[in-house]
């Protein structure tokens, strides 16, 4: 068990910078997820922690000790690869046993013929077999030890890869998109299993994914990366509720957040499609803003509906997706507004909004995320007190 610290890690491949000064402290036993679109540098970062890639600058500390000069296996970390990287010529037993064979047997004891000279080999192999058996039964793959990886299903291979990582009892588990080769159903299942495994082992997990659902559901903390930097580091709920950057807002949450162009008017309020919202943001009058509005913060209603404290937009229903428990509505905004808004609606035929000549979209101005022209969150936002009372009576979207 160990804490992992990254000190201004930079990396460039030739002239192409990939990581620009990453600082990150990962606590002992934490489940830290690095999330971001492909090419954001998250995989490079985890490979640097593993020692498979050498950073251009900066330092990696495991338990307070710099490990930059150490080979991967000396860092006491285990890695699960996206492809699992199981050894195809070994049986499941051999795959899981390899880290132990490497660490417990001397070089000559691993070589053909020469190993016959060893007196202790048989005893060590028996110990290894016992340890492998214990891991295998933990992962419920003890019946598969004689199989070759090619005879396993995707989920079983995943478990073997996990077993190979666990058997060394590493200080930290590094996982590079371990679930992305599984089908959707199995991925949901393995998500739960991984989270339970983390709870059971209490080890430090560093997990790379491009899937925001995995990041949100499993992690203690999430570091959202983009373009070689960490945009935001925090609890999953923080990234969802208070995205620090428009890119974070866009990445976290499904369906994706609605973004609407707005500006600050002369009186210091936010103006959306020519109408003033009950929302004040500090900034130069005329400055361009972007309002982020979660689909779950928008309530669809029959055209003409108004409610105290809620702002209303009108539009026409373009498409509705039935998810069983709810509908996802895609609504084209009517002039003078433009664009499309996605919102969710619980299925309840009595209140279901149908598009009879249009649809009203209601939202509380206080639910808006405000971003400046550079995409940073505007924190200096206040809502006049009237809307505060109204927000309390808001029909909850979820």
């Amino acid at each position: 068990m160990a804490k992992v610290e990254l000190r201004s890690i930079s990396k460039s491949f030739g002239d192409v910078p990939v990581l620009a000064g990453i600082d990150l402290d990962i606590a002992d036993g934490e489940f830290m997820t690095l999330v971001g679109a492909s090419g954001c540098g998250k995989s490079t970062l985890i490979r640097i922690i593993a020692g498979l890639e050498q950073q251009s600058a900066g330092s990696v500390l495991i338990d307070g000790v710099p490990v930059d000069h150490l080979r991967p296996h000396e860092r006491k970390v285990a890695m699960v690869f996206q492809s699992y990287a199981l050894y195809p010529h070994m049986r499941v037993f051999g795959n899981i046993a390899l880290p132990l064979v490497m660490s417990r047997l001397r070089l000559y004891e691993r070589l053909p013929l020469l190993r016959l000279l060893s007196m202790r080999r048989r005893r060590v192999m028996a110990e290894i077999a016992r340890d492998v058996g214990a891991i295998a039964s933990q992962l419920q793959i003890d019946g598969l030890l004689d199989r070759r990886p090619s005879q396993l299903s995707g989920g079983q291979r995943q478990r073997v890869a996990l077993g190979r990582a666990m058997v060394r009892q590493p200080a930290a588990f590094l996982m590079d998109e371990p679930l992305s080769n599984l089908d959707a159903k199995l991925r949901v299942h393995m998500r739960t299993e991984l989270a339970e495994l983390h709870a059971r082992l209490g080890a430090t997990f560093i997990y790379v994914t491009h899937d925001q659902v995995e990041a949100m559901t499993m992690s203690n903390r999430v570091a959202m990366m983009d373009n070689g930097t960490i945009l935001q580091l925090g609890l999953p709920s923080e990234l969802y509720a208070r995205p620090a950057n428009i890119k974070v807002a866009q990445f976290i949450g499904a369906p994706a957040i609605n973004l609407l162009p707005a500006k600050i008017n002369a009186s210091g309020s936010v103006e959306l499609f020519g109408e003033e919202l009950a929302l004040r943001a500090r900034g130069a009058p005329g400055a361009a803003l972007t309002l982020g509005l979660r689909p779950e913060a928008v309530t669809p209603a029959p055209l003409g509906t108004t409610r105290a404290g809620l702002h209303a937009l009108t539009g026409r229903l373009r498409r509705s997706e039935n998810l069983g428990a709810e509908h996802i509505l895609h609504v084209d905004l009517a002039a003078p507004a433009s664009g499309t808004i996605t919102c969710r609606q619980a299925i309840d035929p009595a209140t279901q909004a149908t598009d009879a000549g249009g649809i009203a979209l209601l939202f509380a101005p206080s639910a808006c995320h405000v971003f400046d022209a550079a995409g940073q969150r505007v924190t200096d936002v206040e809502t006049p007190s009237v809307s505060g009372a109204a927000a309390a009576t808001l029909p909850r979207a979820r």
């Binding site: 890695m79 195809p88 390899l98 880290p99 070589l111």
Partner: protein, 310 residues
């Protein structure tokens, strides 16, 4: 395939039509394979049958009458000292060339695999001998190895060693020929091994490194060697068959000498057939030769095939 799927798409058909369809399919199938079959017949099967027939006769090139001898040719071969010596020499030659050409080819491939800029340069250097004509190169080697005017012995003498009679000393002649054989084969094996090496996923080496494979030896024994299994098997089979067929260098450089120490199978067959015109006997020797090649390939395929595919 197209016809088969058409038949499936058409669904159930009345019996006479289905039979007709089947007839058309089999006629078409035979038609497609006919050209290849004819070539196979003309080039392999008919000559092989003629060879088999001749091996039971005392046919001599140009002879007017031929007698059927039964197995006499084969009995003669088993007790023929020249043939037995050439068989032994051939196996000794294969025993040197096989590990040499396979091992060196693998070594060079492993060394070159990770190089980026110099790789193609070395590839060309090692592959050049493969593209050369061995007969011509044998003449060059004969000059190079000449005891008095050859540059190799010139260098040895300049360094203070005595000249080595590479081709006239019975103990040296076979190893010398084998070295030339290795020189000629290594490049080809190297290219095959390079192809095999690039097919090994890089992930596996990274996983092995994290799992504690420390040095090149660990890496090689854990990942490279087992995963090169199919390539190695192919290389071993082709190399041993090529080595078994050694002829050019012997015919040009030593003519089986000195004192029969470089007599090999193909050269013995060539002598019997085209120098002494004992076609019947040469045919019997050829059949024995083919049987050995067949045994080598079958045994290697059966034994190794089971252990290299995952």
């Amino acid at each position: 395939m197209i016809m088969a799927s058409a038949a499936i798409n058409a669904g159930p058909m009345p019996a006479p039509r289905r039979n007709r369809q089947r007839l058309i399919e089999s006629v078409a199938g035979c038609g497609f394979s006919l050209p290849a079959f004819l070539l196979l017949l003309l080039i392999y099967i008919v000559p092989l049958l003629v060879l088999g027939y001749l091996s039971f006769t005392n046919y001599e090139l140009g002879a007017l009458d031929t007698r059927f001898l039964g197995f006499a040719n084969f009995r003669k071969a088993l007790s023929d000292p020249v043939f037995r010596r050439s068989l032994g020499n051939t196996f000794a030659y294969v025993a040197i060339v096989l590990p040499g050409a396979v091992g060196l080819g693998l070594l060079i491939a492993v060394l070159l695999h990770r190089r980026k800029r110099s790789r193609s340069f070395y590839e060309v250097i090692y592959f050049l001998p493969v593209t050369s004509t061995l007969i011509a190169m044998a003449t060059v080697f004969q000059f190079m190895l000449h005891p008095s005017i050859g540059p190799i012995n010139g260098v040895l003498k300049a360094l203070g060693f005595s000249a080595i009679p590479f081709l006239s000393e019975p103990a040296y002649v076979l190893p010398t020929l084998a070295a030339i054989g290795i020189w000629h084969l290594v490049g080809f094996n190297m290219v095959l091994f390079l192809a095999g090496l690039s097919a090994i996923p890089r992930d596996l080496y990274e996983a092995a490194e994290i799992d504690g494979c420390q040095g090149g030896l660990d890496r090689f024994m854990t990942i490279t060697w087992p995963l090169l299994g199919p390539t190695t098997m192919f290389v071993i089979v082709t190399t041993s068959i090529t080595a078994f067929k050694v002829f050019d260098t012997v015919a040009v450089m030593t003519r089986g000498g000195p004192m029969g120490h470089s007599e090999v199978l193909l050269y013995a067959i060539y002598l019997e057939g085209y120098q002494y015109f004992h076609m019947g006997y040469a045919s019997a020797l050829t059949l024995i030769f083919l049987a050995f090649v067949l045994i080598i390939s079958v045994v290697q395929t059966l034994v190794i095939e089971r252990r290299v595919h995952y």
